[in-house]
Subunit: 304 residues, 2 copies
């Protein structure tokens, strides 16, 4: 899975820091979470291909997370796309998305708005993507309803040829059994997949939570993340009261959540425009969570 954090800013795009947006690609299909003003510029800048988008998700309705939608859709229309594009978001955000679709005007493809629950967890399965690619959601705690996303890429259990040979299963059935199917052999026997495959394997997990107070359910939601991407508006603890009021969190809060979640790595994002050099905090944050990174726009990782 290819993961790119297209931007790392909050509130407003800056000339050297676009707004927070996550691009996750698997087997040529991609999902974009959030699309603020300028996201399509970042998209082009980091060499992403618009044509690969299979779905978009929004965390919430604030302009710094959604206002880039008309431009991105119009540019997507210029790529010759005709396949429908689903947009997933909560109800209050869906109203905003519909206003943005009215601004966009006619497109050569259909856009559907798929409304997610705002007060409870949910699961999204994307029919266009590999069935092993699934997204689950978590209600966050912001000034407006806000949703966190966890992307899981399941791994097929290992195929065990020794067991298949011991059961005298002809090779032409092996691929289907590895894919999880139950097959009936020519001799009439029915073989289930687990007869020839190993233990279920831990999926790849990416969790994305912004904008929110550091509520405890985030740690549970991000459990076992290979990559946990979380907001950290400021690194200065003196900002805590103001962040509580605006329902955001400190970088330090995110580190504590990452530790509790047992995440493999943490990327902070959604830096305040007033936080001119967020990188300056990285070293001290390592005391709280060693695998903390303060990324720059376009930060990329291939997870295998």
């Amino acid at each position: 899975m290819e993961i790119t954090l297209l931007g790392t800013g909050g509130m407003m795009p800056l000339k050297n820091r676009f707004l927070t947006s996550l691009y996750a690609e698997h087997e040529g299909g991609a999902v974009l979470i959030d699309c603020g003003e300028g996201t399509q510029v970042a998209f082009g800048q980091h060499g992403m291909k618009l044509s690969r988008l299979e779905a978009m998700c929004f965390t919430h309705r604030h302009a710094d997370h959604v206002a880039g939608l008309p431009g991105l859709l119009l540019s997507l229309g210029n790529t010759g796309r005709t396949e429908p594009l689903p947009i997933y978001c909560g109800k209050s955000c869906a109203d905003t998305v519909r206003h943005l679709l009215a601004v966009t005007g006619g497109l050569p493809f259909e856009v559907t708005v798929e409304v997610l629950p705002e007060r409870e967890a949910a699961e999204i399965r994307l029919p266009q993507m590999d069935p092993l690619f699934r997204i689950t959601t978590l209600p966050l705690s912001h000034s407006v309803p806000c949703i966190g996303y966890r992307i899981e890429l399941g791994k097929k259990p290992e195929f065990q040829p020794d067991r298949a040979r011991a059961l005298d299963i002809p090779v032409q059935f092996w691929k289907r059994l590895h894919a999880g199917e139950t097959v009936t052999l020519e001799d009439g026997r029915t073989i289930t997949s687990d007869a020839v495959t190993g233990q279920p394997r831990k999926p790849l997990v990416i969790t994305y939570t912004t904008d929110t107070l550091p509520i405890p359910s985030i740690a549970e939601f991000a459990k076992g993340s290979d990559l946990f991407i979380c907001e950290g508006m400021y690194g200065d603890p003196e900002k805590k009261a103001s962040l509580n009021e605006k329902r955001h969190m400190l970088m330090q809060d995110a580190c504590r959540l990452a530790k509790e979640a047992g995440a493999a790595r943490l990327w902070l994002t959604h830096f305040s425009p007033a936080e001119k050099h967020p990188q300056d905090y990285e070293k001290e944050l390592h005391a709280l969570f060693p695998d903390t990174v303060i990324p720059q726009d376009g930060m990329h990782i291939t997870l295998k």
Copy 2:
């Protein structure tokens, strides 16, 4: 008058070319015409002050001219503004602006949408600005209703002290007479301004026309412009048929209009993203209109 062309692109913002938008400032008050995705980034990049905005104008409802509105207004809200901001545009664009205001959400200042006629010329007077600063409009010819803008900054006629002395007018009345007032002297005589001022002087004129076919009324509208800013999507004449269809124009069309208008200088803008090096055409365009400039984003001029 300070004029800055914040962006020079059309259709979509690029990493090194933002969308076409004009900033005109006079005596600390400014007007912005068009605000596509990323205009607020260009605003900051070129050192403009959001707090000076007294009004915004839109040419038409296409996203590349309007979609930056929510972000710009929210950033303006963060400057502490409380004064109302009028937005001028045609009726179909006003519908789009209202959708964008719904996306924006609450602001600490009022935004009013002032609907301009789309099929006839009109005049805008901005009560917050110097009364000598006026804007007139022209219906353009695009795929949707579109409006061109002409900004005029009137110059007071010169005061002629010799004539004032000859008429025995006390000095304390000179300033009011120069400002255009009629005054009654202590001896009972009524003196009009033109008794002591020279011929009316040509105002400073900036004309801005995008997106449109090169209709003849543009040359009349841009008559005597000190600066004529006009779209020129492409410099390759082979694009003419496609531009006619999309109701845009070639750089060469704009040069012919500039010549006919007797403009002092022409700045081309709204380049297609496919036009990678619009500057390459500048030299050959000088044969059509010598004072043609292919600006880069942030092109600035002080007109006196």
